[in-house]
């Protein structure tokens, strides 16, 4: 049942040996019932992401980008359609089974960083490792803190860190468990242009060395253009556009 390790299929690999799909969406729709009408947020989205690919989901505000990301990561259930995540049909799994599927294999980076406020930088990175039951949690956390250049800030809590530093901690936390897929929701949305650019550099650099499949939501064209593929959403309808 477990799909092959994506590390065997580097992103730059040629199409001759086709890597397996890690995320697949079939006729994916999401509708929300309000008091007097039904709102369609996503409509019949089709998507297939291979191991090691980098996909940008773009679109205007309210076009359904974050909703799609949430559905693909198994954080929510679609109104209709199927999602296959790492070879598993999510509609066959309940909430807890989906959580188990994510544990240690899926990483997240959020626009609002989502660091635990009372925990130090190091402890924030430790959390997913502890959750995944890694015995080498502390060493790995220290290693990833070093990779993002914040070893000196290990004992600092999020409120003592700048926005850029907080996002670097969040990225270290996302990579710490060696996930097969990394979902990033507007990772530069809360940062100024310079800091954002540095964060993107870091994200791509780490992703390249870890060979992780990266799916990121952004409305930043410059960022989207650095990705291999781009899925553009307009009012819930998705279309793949060529990367410039």
């Amino acid at each position: 049942m477990t799909p092959p390790d994506s590390a065997q299929f580097p992103a730059e690999s040629s199409s001759a040996s086709q890597p397996p799909s890690v995320v697949t969406a079939r006729a994916l729709s999401q509708r929300v019932s309000t008091a007097d009408s039904t709102l369609t947020i996503l409509s019949e989205v089709e998507l297939d992401v291979k191991a090691g690919e980098i996909l940008a989901i773009t679109g205007a505000s309210g076009s359904g980008k974050s909703t799609l990301l949430g559905l693909l990561a198994g954080l929510d259930q679609p109104s209709s359609g199927d999602i296959f995540l790492l070879g598993q049909n999510l509609s066959e799994l309940d909430e807890d089974a989906r959580a188990r599927l994510r544990a240690g294999r899926i990483g997240f980076v959020f626009q609002s960083f989502q660091l635990l406020p009372a925990r130090s930088a190091l402890e924030n990175i430790l959390l997913p490792l502890e959750l995944a039951g890694r015995t080498d949690a502390r060493e790995r956390a220290a290693h990833w803190l070093e990779r993002v250049g914040l070893t000196a800030r290990a004992a600092h809590t999020p409120r003592q860190l700048s926005g850029g530093e907080q996002q670097r901690i969040a990225i270290a936390r996302a990579f710490a468990t060696d996930p097969q897929i990394l979902f990033a929701d507007e990772p530069t949305g809360n940062l100024d242009a310079d800091t954002g650019a540095r964060i993107i550099e870091l994200l791509f650099e780490l992703n390249a060395s870890a060979h992780t499949t990266l799916i990121l939501v952004t409305h930043d064209d410059a960022l989207a253009s650095r990705c291999q593929r781009r899925l553009h959403l307009i009012a819930g309808h998705a279309s793949e556009v060529a990367v410039a």
Binding site: D96, S112, A118, E130, L131
Partner: protein, 838 residues
């Protein structure tokens, strides 16, 4: 296991968070309160149990109001006569007499309870005698050397006497040879209305205190092998009449333990109120904790944690806090119960058995139950948080059915109450009273807040802003007001009961109401006493001869069988009544039915109306009384009302003259001794040494002292209630802290100074405390008026000082707890606050 470790790790990192601290504080207060009473109750119960035989001073005790002349022959071959030493062939025996008498030294005199003993007393347990009060005592027989007595330490200051001094008992003189430090059946000197004196049985005669008709209890003690005792009591029982009692050591302790268990249960319920108030604080703190951890829980779900894993994680945290809080609470309870023991049993506190383990278990389970009931609904929501919340912050956790929350909390609370109350009826009463109280307090709090709106409109600046806060958080304010009002109200009510009842009773007495009772006036003294009183121009009541008898028969059948089961144990039936006879209807009595017998010399009686109502008696009924070893029949010819607080000798049953005359009867009278004339009393005591002089003001002062001890103990428990009230205030304030901080940041950014913020916070909390104080004053006045009127038939009166003291106390306590919780809002620079709030 992993998640248990993770839970502990997270808990350690959050140990300084406000919610955990409040939760822990509330739990400590609640458990402290129930364990204080639990520990003390357990120690007292075990003291009674451990003492067993030594509690009675024997394995078997027979009490009788007259000497028992003949004993069953089976085991007692030498039947003891009244004056001969009691002995049986196989059982160890001892005989003692107990009676009240005056002990005098110079002009000082004091009523004492004398126990005249033989050399064998006590058969079980020990009497310890010390050479001086509060010095080391030695275990000795209670029998003093000839011409000497042993006295309870509290008698010495009352008589300004020392060990070695000579005192007068009746017509004889005795030397105080030592101080009684311990005796069987005594836990302490709480009810020391008449201090104990041990004397020799063979010296009673020379005091001439005991006259025909004197009130005296004969105590016959037996000790031996269980099978001998069983055989003896089996043959003895049928020979005893209804005025005599056979008490086995177990039975004696059980009776006392039963009475104690009831009192203990009510005190435990008082403690339970603190625990329930703590539950409110815990629920609020847990709710806020959940609210602040939705993001953390969502993130962990996102990272792959299942609901079961989150449940483990939070359960471990809760259990750790629960055990920690309960243990600290138990430790505080252990300290507080010792303070309580010293307060109510100053003499015996050190002799009580050591702390038991059972109350620890009960307190810890109570604490965990309270914690679970209060915080589970919040934590159940927390573990059901949708992982999608990481992307959409506004997404609330799945709602938990209101009925599930209510069922979880409600059933836990009910379980706790049921556990403490013991029986279904008491649970019903307690829950009903609690619900009524919550309803009334909620209504009152809402009304007070409504009134506060007017004040807010009139105010300005920071005060207006502070009051606006109070009115805006209406739910919080109602809860805080309710909790604090309840605590202040109960504390005030107890203080009022303590001071008012005594003062009210004294004030209500008409001027020149009798202030002394003369009891135990022997028949031969009665004429002389009457002469003495009239010679000294003292206003005295008639001298009423008294005979003791028990009401046993109504219209030819045992009276108990004519009553519903719950009335059969009535005090009027259980104890011996004071019966008198007179031809004149006493002052303060009025005939309600039938005709006063007057001088009509027939077997007729007049019965007090309350007794007639309780026992369902009517004019024409034929009653049978057991008086000594004879039975006397009489017909009810009138029903009387009696003004009980008239300070006159009052009687339930008055016979027509001629019926009881043949029986030995000591008389009773009441007399008014004007303040200037009390110097004649020592002369009276000397002239009539056997007569007991009861000073009402001393009696009232004694009752007041006992009252003060008990109320002091309960007030100590109410300290927990006040602390729990403060925990509720702090918990609700913490819950609104984020919103307050946001407002403070905004205000400071807009130019408000720290002083402005501080003033607005103080106005809010002072107003809250003042309101709680005012509400509590109103509640206490109303409750006190009801208690005075309904229970004690005293006129209600207002207490102006209350209306000043309670609002001040409220303002101070709420002000302090509020300011301590929120003050850092005014200190943090706005920029730091903005960052902290994200």
């Amino acid at each position: 296991m992993r998640f248990m470790r993770l839970g502990l790790w997270l808990l350690r990192r959050e140990r300084s968070s406000g919610e955990w601290r409040v939760l822990l504080l509330a739990l400590i207060i609640g458990v402290g309160s129930v364990s204080t009473t639990g520990f003390l109750g357990d120690r007292l119960k075990r003291a009674m149990g451990e003492q067993g035989a030594s509690f009675l001073g024997a394995d078997l005790l027979v009490t009788s109001s007259r000497a028992i002349e003949s004993w069953p022959a089976s085991s007692t071959q030498n039947i003891p006569a009244k004056s001969s030493p009691l002995s049986t062939s196989s059982l160890a025996t001892s005989q003692a007499l107990e009676f009240s008498s005056m002990v005098a030294k110079g002009d000082a005199f004091q009523l004492a309870t004398l126990r005249a003993v033989d050399a064998a007393y006590p058969l079980r347990g020990t009497v310890r005698i010390a050479p001086q009060p509060f010095t080391e005592s030695t275990s000795r027989p209670a029998l003093p050397p000839p011409g000497a007595i042993y006295v309870a330490p509290d008698l010495l200051p009352l008589l300004s006497a020392n060990v070695g001094d000579s005192v007068q008992i009746g017509e004889a003189s005795f030397t105080i040879a030592g101080v009684v430090a311990e005796e069987p059946g005594q836990l302490g000197g709480v009810f020391g209305l008449a201090p104990r004196v041990f004397m020799r049985a063979d010296e009673v005669e020379r005091t001439h205190v005991l006259q025909p008709g004197s009130r005296v209890t004969y105590l016959y003690q037996f000790a031996g092998e269980p099978n001998q005792l069983t055989a003896f009591s089996a043959t003895l029982k049928p020979t005893l009449d209804s005025t005599q009692r056979l008490i086995g050591s177990r039975e004696g302790v059980e009776t006392l333990r039963g009475a104690f268990a009831n009192a203990d249960r009510y005190i435990q319920l008082t403690a339970l109120i603190s625990l329930l108030l703590s539950v409110a604080a815990i629920a609020i703190a847990a709710h806020r904790h959940a609210l602040r951890h939705y993001d953390q829980a969502a993130l962990m779900r996102c990272m792959g944690a299942t609901t079961a894993q989150l449940r483990t994680l939070y359960a471990v945290q809760l259990l750790t806090l629960g055990v920690l809080g309960s243990l600290i609470g138990v430790a505080i309870g252990a300290l507080m119960q010792q303070a309580l023991a010293l307060l109510i049993l100053p003499d015996a506190a050190t002799r009580l058995p050591s702390l038991g383990l059972a109350p620890v278990g009960i307190a810890v389970v109570s604490g965990l139950l309270a914690l679970a009931g209060a915080s589970l609904p919040a934590l159940m929501r927390l573990i059901r948080v949708p992982p999608l919340r990481v992307l959409r912050r506004d997404l609330p956790p799945l709602p938990l059915g209101a009925w599930i929350s209510a069922a979880v909390s409600g059933s836990t609370l009910l379980l706790l109450i049921a556990w403490y109350a013991g029986d279904a009826k008491l649970v019903g009463v307690f829950v009903g009273a609690l619900a009524g109280l919550v309803l009334v307090l909620t209504l009152l709090a809402r009304l007070a807040l409504f009134a506060g709106r007017g004040v807010q409109r009139l105010s300005h600046g920071p005060v207006r802003f502070g009051l606006a806060q109070l009115l805006r958080h209406r739910f919080d304010s109602t809860l805080q007001l309710g909790a604090f009002t309840l605590a202040l109200f109960l504390v005030a009510l107890l203080a009022l009961v303590r001071s008012d009842l005594i003062a009210g009773w004294q004030q209500q007495l008409p001027p020149e109401a009798p202030n002394y009772f003369l009891v135990n006036i022997a028949p031969y003294q009665q004429a002389a006493v009457a002469d003495y009183l009239s010679q000294h121009q003292l206003k005295a009541s008639e001298l009423y001869p008294m005979v003791r008898g028990r009401l046993t028969i109504k219209n030819g059948v045992p009276i108990a069988s004519t009553l519903p089961p719950e009335l059969r144990d009535s005090n009027t039936l259980r104890r011996e009544l004071n019966l008198t006879w007179t031809a004149t209807l006493p002052a303060n009595n009025a005939i309600l039915a039938g005709q006063w017998h007057g001088t009509h010399n027939a077997a007729e009686i007049s019965v007090e109306s309350g007794m007639a109502e309780r026992l369902n008696l009517a004019v024409g009924d034929q009653l049978g009384f057991q008086i000594g070893d004879q039975t006397l029949d009489a017909r009810i010819t009138s029903i009387r009302s009696v003004k009980w607080d008239s300070m006159q000798p009052n009687f339930f049953v008055i016979f027509a003259p001629g019926q009881l005359d043949a029986l030995p009867a000591a008389a009773i009278a009441s007399v008014y001794v004007p303040p200037g004339a009390s110097g004649m009393l020592p002369g009276f005591v000397k002239a009539f040494p056997g007569v007991t002089v009861l000073a009402l003001d001393k009696l009232i002062a004694n009752i007041e002292a006992v009252f003060a001890q008990i109320i002091g103990a309960i007030q100590l428990l109410l300290g927990f209630l006040l602390a729990a009230g403060m925990a509720v205030v702090i918990a609700t304030l913490l819950a609104s802290l984020d919103a307050r901080q946001q407002e403070a940041v905004l205000l400071r950014t807009l130019g408000a100074q720290r002083a402005y913020l501080a003033k607005s916070l103080w106005s809010e909390f002072l107003a809250l405390g003042l309101l709680a104080g005012l509400l509590a004053s109103a509640c206490a006045e109303i409750a006190m008026a009801l208690i005075s009127d309904r229970l004690f038939e005293l006129p209600a009166r207002l207490h102006p000082w209350l209306w000043l003291a309670l609002p001040l106390a409220g303002a101070l306590l709420v002000g302090m707890s509020g300011w301590l919780t929120t003050r850092h809002i005014t200190r943090v620079p706005p920029m730091q606050s903005i960052r902290a709030l994200g």
